[in-house]
C-alpha cells in the first residue's frame, strides 16, 4: 500500500479553510469559469 508524498504547507491549509480568503477566491474562480465557458461556446455558430 502506498503513502502520499506531497504535503500541503500550513499556509496552504490556512487559505483553504479561511472563509475570507475563500470568499475572494470564489469570486476570482467564478470569473475564471465564465471566461472558460465563453471559450467553450466559441464553437457554436448557429443562433
Amino acid at each position: 500500500m502506498a503513502q502520499a508524498k506531497f504535503r500541503f504547507s500550513d499556509s496552504d491549509r490556512r487559505k483553504m479553510h479561511s472563509l475570507i480568503s475563500q470568499f475572494f477566491r470564489a469570486i476570482s474562480l467564478a470569473f475564471h469559469f465564465l471566461k472558460l465557458v465563453k471559450i467553450a461556446e466559441k464553437g457554436y455558430k448557429t443562433h
Binding site: 500500500m1 470564489a26 469559469f33 465557458v37 448557429t46
Partner: protein
C-alpha cells in the same frame, strides 16, 4: 417538417432536446421525441452525497414529462433497441410493457449514456456481486443503506476496511470515486469514527490525480502545481492509503483480487467496497436494409457510436485535431452521438499492459459539462441540416474546457472541494506544444470555494435543465 429522435435523457440528450425545441420554435412544424427508460432526470454528480446518506435522492431528480410538455417535446418512456439507419427508423420497447414500437426519424441523436458493465469483473456491482456503486440513483440509495449499516457497527466498536475506486482496468470517472472516498472520510471524522476505519483508494490510474484525463498541471505563481500533488496532499492529510495502476480480476465476499502494472497479483480484504464499473455502449442493434448486423460499421468495439473523429491512431500519435468536432456519424450523416455514447478516438491517460498482458487503460470521461457541450453541438448541427446548411457547430474536447468540482465534504461553512478547470480537456500539442494545454487557464485547488461551487452547480443545473425562467442564461 423534420422528425428528430433523441435517445437518452442525461446531460447530453436532455439538454440537446431543450436546445432543439428552443431553436426550432417558430421555424417550422418539427417533431422532437425523446426516448428514455427514465422517468426523471438524474443529476449524477450529487449522487456522491446520496451515497453517504447526506442528501435524499429526490433532491437530485426531477420528472421529465412536465419539462417536455412545456417545451412541446414528445416523451417515450422506452428503451431504444434497434436502429435501421438505411430506412431511417428505430424500434423502441416500452418501459412498462416491453411492447415494441416503430419510430421514423429524419435525424437521430444517440445520447444514451453508458451501459454499466459490471459483468466485466466477476463479483462486481450491487446486483450480481458484492460491491456498491454510486452511478445510478437506486445504486446510490443502496450504497447509503449499506454504508449507514456499517456506521452502526463502527459505533458499536467494530473496525473496518473500506475500499473505494475502480473495479476494472478500463474504468473511467475516477473523479466520482475520489469524491466518494473523501466524503466518506469526512463523514467518518464528523461521526468520530475515522480511527476505526482503514480507507484504501484502489484505482486503474497511472498516477494519483490522473482522473482519466492524464492529470493536469496548473500555474501557481512561478511553480507548476499538478492534480497529482493535490491528490497526494489530500490523501496524506486524510490518511488514505492507495493502490493505483491496478486492474480488478474478481471480487468475492471478503476479498478483491487485483493485478498491478508490474504484474503483481494481490488480494485486498474489505468490509465495504464502492468500486465503479467500466462503461460499454448500450446494447442496441444496428441493422441495414437487408437485415444485416452493421454494428461494426457504426460503432467501435465497445459499442460507442463513431463520429467525426480520427480513429485507429496509437496513443503516442493521438492529438487534438483527432478529437471529434461536430459529433456527426461519418457513414450516416443524419445520425449524431453525444455524451458518453460517442466513441472517443482513444484514451486521454496513457494505457499500459502488465507483463501478463492485462490491459490497464483508463477510458476518457465525457460526462457532465463535456456531455452537455457535445449535446448542444449535435443539436445545433441538426438545426443546420434542417435549414439546409452543413454542420458548422463544434465542441471538440481538444478545444473546449473541462470544469469539474470534486466534492470532499458538503457544507456551506465547513465544506471542502477541489476546483478543477482544464483547457482543453484533451491535450492538444498541435496548439500547445509543451503541455498540450494552456496552463494559464488550468486550475487545481482545494478549498471551501469549491464546496460553494459544487452546491451552486447542483441548484443551477437543476434549475436550467427544468427550463425554469432565465434557463438560457445559465451556461
Amino acid at each position: 417538417m423534420a422528425k428528430i429522435v433523441i435517445a437518452g435523457s442525461g446531460f447530453a440528450g436532455h439538454y440537446a432536446a431543450m436546445i432543439l425545441a428552443d431553436r426550432l420554435k417558430g421555424r417550422g412544424n418539427h417533431e422532437i421525441t425523446v426516448v428514455t427508460p427514465n422517468e426523471t432526470f438524474n443529476y449524477i454528480p450529487s449522487l456522491i452525497w446520496v451515497g453517504v446518506g447526506q442528501m435524499p435522492v429526490e433532491k437530485t431528480q426531477f420528472k421529465l414529462k412536465p419539462v417536455y410538455d412545456k417545451f412541446g417535446i414528445n416523451y417515450e418512456r422506452a428503451f431504444l433497441t434497434e436502429v435501421h439507419p438505411d430506412e431511417n427508423y428505430v424500434i423502441i420497447e416500452s418501459y412498462d410493457t416491453r411492447t415494441p414500437k416503430r419510430l421514423n426519424y429524419d435525424f437521430l441523436l444517440v445520447a444514451t449514456g453508458p451501459k454499466l458493465n459490471f459483468d466485466a469483473t466477476p463479483g462486481l456491482g450491487p446486483d450480481k456481486g458484492y460491491t456498491y456503486s454510486v452511478c445510478t440513483p437506486p445504486h446510490a440509495v443502496e450504497t447509503a443503506k449499506a454504508y449507514l449499516e456499517l456506521v452502526k457497527r463502527l459505533e458499536k466498536g467494530d473496525k473496518a476496511r473500506i475500499v473505494i475506486g475502480t473495479g476494472h482496468g478500463g474504468c473511467t470517472c475516477q473523479g466520482a470515486g475520489f469524491e466518494f472516498i473523501t466524503n466518506v472520510h469526512n463523514d467518518l471524522v464528523d461521526r468520530g469514527l475515522r480511527d476505526k476505519v482503514e480507507l484504501i483508494w484502489l484505482s486503474n490510474e497511472p498516477k494519483l490525480g490522473d482522473f482519466g484525463i492524464d492529470g493536469l498541471e496548473a500555474k501557481r505563481g512561478s511553480l507548476i502545481f499538478t492534480a497529482e500533488m493535490m491528490a497526494e496532499a489530500i490523501f496524506y492529510d486524510y490518511g488514505i492509503k492507495y493502490e493505483i495502476r491496478s486492474h480488478v480480476h474478481k471480487v468475492d465476499e471478503k476479498k478483491i483480487y487485483t493485478e498491478n502494472i508490474e504484474g503483481e497479483f494481490k488480494e485486498i480484504e474489505y468490509d465495504f467496497a464502492m468500486l465503479l464499473p467500466p462503461f460499454a455502449g448500450q446494447p442496441i442493434k444496428w441493422i441495414d436494409k437487408d437485415g444485416n448486423d452493421i454494428k461494426d460499421k457504426v460503432c467501435n468495439p465497445a459499442g460507442f457510436v463513431k463520429v467525426d473523429a480520427v480513429y485507429g491512431k496509437p496513443y503516442e500519435e493521438l492529438d487534438g485535431p483527432d478529437w471529434p468536432k461536430t459529433y456527426q456519424n461519418p457513414v450516416y450523416k443524419n445520425i449524431f452521438a453525444a455524451g458518453i455514447a460517442f466513441a472517443p478516438p482513444g484514451p486521454l491517460s496513457k494505457p499500459s499492459k502488465s507483463p501478463n498482458g492485462t490491459l490497464i487503460a483508463p477510458a476518457p470521461p465525457r460526462t457532465g459539462y463535456t456531455a452537455e457541450l457535445s449535446g448542444k453541438a449535435a443539436a445545433l448541427n441538426i438545426v443546420d441540416m434542417i435549414e439546409g446548411r452543413e454542420p458548422q457547430n463544434t465542441a471538440s474536447m481538444a478545444e473546449t474546457p473541462g470544469l469539474c468540482v470534486a466534492s470532499m465534504k458538503n457544507g456551506i461553512l465547513n465544506g471542502m472541494a477541489g476546483t478543477i478547470a482544464i483547457y482543453p480537456v484533451a491535450r492538444n500539442r498541435a496548439k500547445y506544444p509543451e503541455y498540450g494545454r494552456d496552463l494559464d487557464l488550468c486550475v487545481a485547488e482545494p478549498g471551501k470555494a469549491g464546496a460553494w461551487f459544487k452546491l451552486g452547480l447542483h441548484y443551477a443545473f437543476l434549475w436550467k435543465l427544468q427550463g425554469k425562467p432565465f434557463w438560457k442564461l445559465i451556461p
